[in-house]
């Protein structure tokens, strides 16, 4: 076997998380607190970047598992080791907060590890965001140069590839327009065009394909494919299982800061999606209250008669019963999504589509959503529930639950033949007319 191009050895990264402060209750306590605040703040800020020896010894047996906070610190990565051969395209998957992005940030030298070591044998470029450093007031042309140099290119190199970049981005006409007048699609196209023309030996990509329209995403995937055919090494973080299985030759599943599985795409993706299923099932109960102004306390799937179920006939309504706790008055919205196991969305039901809205009053509320018969082919599907702040296009997710799964079973009164998932996803009947021609 050839020499590895990336070697990661016992890599660990610790972060300090928000430290709880005690608030004075009486007037006197409040005054004393305020006066003593500078001393307290100084101590807190100094601690922010300091980890004493006892804390930073990565291999200490007495330390709890990665991902679980000890006091005010959290291990975002713990004892991660792997090697990558030149030319490999490695997908990195895992839940939000599992440590995927931290790993990429360390590999791209944005932040340094708490312990452990990485050796990279080659020029590295990282793409953690599309359009880093774009300035809205500058023109497309100026931003190509600015963004290119930020990503580590030299001016001469950009000069050489300039026409190619412009052609790839399809924005020739707007090259001398400030990018603040661009549509978001044009902006993303230009940004990706610059990044696509980097020529590193190692490319690190974090979920950048989630932006842009389908046509452009296809183009980007194609570009990444050619990169890997040219023998470039790519590390690719994504939630898009379809893209991962299509592009990668190997997948690493990171869970709670450590490697859970490392192997062939199909096996790892299957196991990853499987873990979500087993751990949750068709209901959700919030155990530790999230630190947000509102959260989903519980979710249950029921039939129209109010019986809790985890498998539904394809022609049956699904009732989603969620309880929501509102801590402070903000404008909230709730949406439900039905997805395939590989995360492709199938249905989206935002509360905004109905005349109903969530209450503003604080406290516990129950929301019942009656979903019409989904007519999906038999199989396992994911129900995603997202509670967000804000209305319309401007919102921020407060609490997302994507661990609920349910089964769809065949309804032989509707269709008596065998329905295979290879044939389709959504079941509908067409009207057929057959006539004898003279």
């Amino acid at each position: 076997m050839a020499e590895p191009i990336i070697t990661v050895e016992n890599l660990s990264k610790k972060y300090r998380i928000g430290m709880r402060e005690l608030k004075g209750r009486t007037f006197r306590e409040t005054v004393v607190d305020t006066l003593a605040a500078p001393v307290r703040n100084l101590r807190r800020l100094r601690r922010l970047t300091r980890f004493d020896d006892r804390e930073s010894r990565g291999a200490d047996d007495s330390l709890p598992a990665a991902g679980s906070p000890t006091g005010d610190t959290i291990w975002a990565l713990k004892d991660v080791s792997f090697t990558v051969q030149p030319g490999e395209v490695v997908g990195i998957i895992g839940r939000n907060g599992a440590g995927k992005s931290t790993l990429l940030k360390i590999l791209s030298r944005i932040t340094e590890p708490t312990s452990g070591e990485v050796r990279l044998y080659g020029r590295v470029s990282s793409l953690l965001e599309v359009g880093t450093g774009f300035h809205p007031e500058l023109t497309g042309r100026e931003n190509i140069y600015l963004n290119g140099t930020i990503l580590g290119m030299r001016k001469a190199e950009i000069d050489r590839k300039f026409d190619e970049i412009v052609a790839f981005s399809e924005i020739e006409k707007f090259l001398d327009t400030p990018v603040k007048r661009y549509s978001s699609g044009m902006y993303v196209r230009l940004a990706f065009a610059v990044a696509a023309h980097l020529e590193p030996e190692i490319l690190l990509i974090d979920e950048v394909l989630a932006v842009g329209d389908a046509e452009f995403q296809k183009k980007c995937l194609g570009k990444m494919n050619t990169l890997s055919h040219r023998g470039r090494t790519v590390l690719f973080v994504s939630h898009n299982m379809a893209a991962i299985s299509q592009l990668c030759s190997r997948v690493i599943h990171i869970s709670d800061g450590s490697i859970a599985q490392d192997g062939l795409p199909e096996a790892v993706i299957h196991a990853y999606l499987g873990t979500g299923m087993q751990s949750a099932g068709s209901s959700y109960h919030c155990l530790d209250k999230p630190d947000t102004s509102a959260w989903v306390q519980s979710v249950e799937l029921k039939d129209i008669d109010g019986r809790t179920k985890d498998s539904f006939l394809m022609s049956e309504c699904i009732v989603v019963e969620s309880t929501i706790f509102i801590k402070s008055r903000i404008s909230l919205s709730l949406s439900i999504q039905i997805k395939e196991q590989n995360n492709s969305p199938l249905y989206h039901f935002p509360i905004g589509d109905s005349p109903q809205s969530l209450p503003a009053a604080t406290g516990m509320h129950r929301v019942c959503t009656r979903i019409p018969p989904p007519n999906l082919y038999p199989g396992t599907y994911i129900m995603k529930i997202a509670l967000s702040e804000g209305i319309g296009d401007h919102f921020e997710h407060l609490h997302v639950i994507d661990t609920i799964s349910f089964d769809i079973t065949p309804d032989y009164s509707t269709c008596s033949r065998q329905l295979s998932r290879h044939a389709g996803v959504i079941y509908a009947r067409a009207q057929w007319n057959v006539d004898d021609l003279p």
Binding site: R109, E112, E117, L138, L151
Partner: protein, 270 residues
């Protein structure tokens, strides 16, 4: 090979890497210059308005009312010469000091030598300095003042001014990343520092026995140097400038060392 591990202790400036990224520095400077006066009515005139109107105010209060001496030349040009350099210095340390905190999105998303960020305003400010300097030349013609041969030292004086600004800017930018108090401290610092520098008054007003301590402020020698070279106020202040040079270099080196020391946790705390 790139080796990534926890760094500790003294970090040296990686000059080869910095050289590779010199185009980035150039484009950031161009960006700052292009963006600075976008969507303003007066545009580049702002570079003149600030030092010029300060000079008018100082001339009224310190020149006319307080009758502060000005080494035998008209107070307006005496003060404006200093204001041109001081405005550059004050703007540079202010923007430089806030630059790291203001570039959070860049720092947390891509790797490049961080030191480029606080150095950008030090270079970008030179354009404003040049514009304000044109007015100074006009004023010299108006008052009929000819520069001496010592005007040949101007490049050196400008370099020293940049070096001091860069050093102070680096320290402030690095401190600001962790202690946001710095942002509120900079305006004070600039005010106090201005009165500790011979701007509204000549250095000759300072009693002889305090001169040595006074000259520990590197801007003292630089400002007096500007006046001597351009206006011929006093004999060229070689001693003061020698001190300024030593201190500017020390400040700059300290800035670089401190910055390198703390830059590794910028991405985690911004």
């Amino acid at each position: 090979m790139i080796r990534i591990r926890k760094k500790s202790g003294f970090q040296l400036l990686n000059l080869r890497e910095l050289l590779h990224y010199r185009d980035l520095l150039a484009f950031l400077v161009i960006r700052d210059i292009k963006v600075k006066y976008k969507q303003t009515v007066l545009g580049g005139l702002w570079a003149i308005i600030q030092p010029f109107f300060m000079m008018v105010v100082f001339t009224l209060f310190f020149g006319k009312l307080a009758q502060i001496p000005s080494d035998g030349i008209p107070y307006p040009i005496f003060n404006y010469t200093a204001m041109v350099a001081w405005t550059y210095f004050a703007t540079a340390i202010n923007t430089s000091g806030n630059s790291i905190v203001g570039s959070g999105s860049l720092i947390s998303k891509v790797y490049f030598p961080r030191i480029i960020i606080p150095l950008t305003p030090v270079l970008a400010g030179l354009l404003d300095f040049a514009i304000a300097f044109l007015v100074l030349i006009a004023m010299m013609l108006y008052f009929g003042i000819h520069p001496s041969l010592m005007a040949l030292t101007l490049p050196l004086l400008i370099l020293l001014m940049m070096l001091t600004a860069a050093g102070v800017g680096l320290v402030l930018a690095a401190l600001n990343a962790k202690y946001r108090d710095v942002r509120y401290t900079i305006p004070f610092l600039v005010q106090f520092w201005m009165f500790a520098t011979p701007i509204v008054y000549p250095a000759s007003m300072v009693p002889e026995r305090f001169r040595l301590i006074y000259a520990l402020n590197p801007m003292t020698g630089i400002i007096e140097g500007f006046r001597s070279a351009l206006l011929g106020t006093i004999a060229f202040p070689w001693t003061m400038l020698a001190m300024s040079t030593v201190i500017a270099v020390v400040v700059f080196l300290c800035g670089v060392i401190y910055f390198k020391q703390v830059e590794r946790y910028f991405a985690d705390i911004i």
